[in-house]
Symmetry: C2
């Protein structure tokens, strides 16, 4: 009965229901109005994401398409060639083209779907080096996986695709860097988000959803608010719902 | 593709995706394995919950039933007659009978569904009086809405129904009171849960899910983990999924 909002992306989406996560905050904001489903895949780039499209968003009528989908890839695509995450690298042009394919598929799935692109977040290189050393030893020091500059190139590419296709995009790479101390404030390991970083993503997604048409305050409750229920005659509040043969047998 | 876990209950379920909430924690724990859907209705008692059953859990084959459902009512049913929440009161025998009806409906919906009953939490009466005074003025002081003793009577009734029907129950009323200072540690307004209170519910639900068969570590990922994907030949990892005519056109 409720519409679905799908969050499609990499680990930053997969982790979005952890404490303070932006996915959980969205689910809370749209509580009783929409279901928020996490479709985040740790380590995935846009090339691998394409393999999931027909499974997650089937084109047949077997399942209702989401009313809104966020597409939040790029952090892995932007991994450096030669770095310890090079297996995840996707060239910029292919990244942009993959985003176009994902959007085209979603539009085919539902022409009315609200589609929002989110750029990769900025990178705290200092912390990435610490993380690499702790995880992979001294060897990894020479093989920095990501730079902030390169993440910015992919963020720019993502925003360009949004403009080209006429769909909203959130430049989280730029947005986060507007705040002093963003490196430690918003990023836990130089890449993934702290609770404060999650709050930034959450605020931006809700802002864009509202600017489009997905305004939580304006969406109907799935069932009557308790204040509308007459304790002595509860049937009345639920009368409009009575359309099931077995309903009156309860 | 993923199974659904449904959380059916009152405001304590509706709020469960707020920061530190037990619903969000469950969604995080079952990430990439099951979708956790909140079906919490602020102020609802079991009498009003019955009106939702056929909508939330239809008996026709139009939607796949959840693999697991938590039933977390009683906090409103146990509201005192004569208190400022008496509109929500449901007598104990009817509460127990309504729980039986809900369970019977879910079993009809799916005989294999894992059904878990959760009792109402304990009540911090001191805080409830403060809350009543702040919200309703001095008048409300004479009209305490809930007592811990009465919540305990409903908790006992809930556990009895679980035993009678052979389904697991979580006595959160007892469990929370095992810890010194439970009043302020676990309850924010004498009734609803703090982050620590949410953590207790989360731990108990996961424990019971695991003791049954819904063990997150043993459930398969919906798609390959990134470490299983060969960067040079990603098709291979996704080969078992190729069953869609359009799949190779991407």
């Amino acid at each position: 009965m409720r519409p679905n909002i799908v969050l499609f992306g990499d680990s930053i989406t997969e982790e979005s229901f952890a404490s303070g996560g932006w996915g959980a905050s969205l689910a809370n904001t749209y509580s009783r109005k929409a279901d928020v489903l996490g479709r985040g895949y740790d380590g995935y780039n846009t090339r691998w994401a394409l393999f999931l499209l027909h499974h997650l968003f089937p084109l047949d009528s077997s399942s209702k398409p989401p009313v809104a989908t966020t597409i939040f890839f790029g952090a892995n695509d932007a991994a450096l060639l030669g770095g310890f995450r090079e297996r995840h690298h996707v060239p910029l042009d292919e990244y942009k083209d993959n985003l176009r394919k994902i959007v085209a598929h979603l539009k085919e799935c539902s022409p009315t779907m609200l589609i929002v692109l989110i750029t990769p977040p900025p990178i705290d290189e200092e912390r990435r080096l610490e993380y690499a050393r702790a995880t992979y030893g001294e060897e990894a020091m020479k093989l920095l996986d990501r730079t902030n500059e390169n993440a910015g190139v992919y963020a720019k590419g993502c925003v360009e695709v949004g403009g080209e296709l006429g769909i909203p995009s959130i430049n989280i790479w730029s947005k986060m860097q507007e705040t002093d101390g963003w490196q430690k404030k918003y990023l836990s390991d130089g890449l993934h988000l702290t609770a404060q970083g999650n709050a930034v993503v959450f605020e931006q997604v809700v802002r864009v959803f509202k600017e489009a048409w997905l305004h939580p305050e304006e969406m109907p409750y799935d069932f009557p608010h308790h204040s509308e229920i007459d304790g002595n005659n509860p049937h009345k509040a639920f009368q409009p719902l009575v359309s099931f043969p077995k309903f009156n047998n309860i």
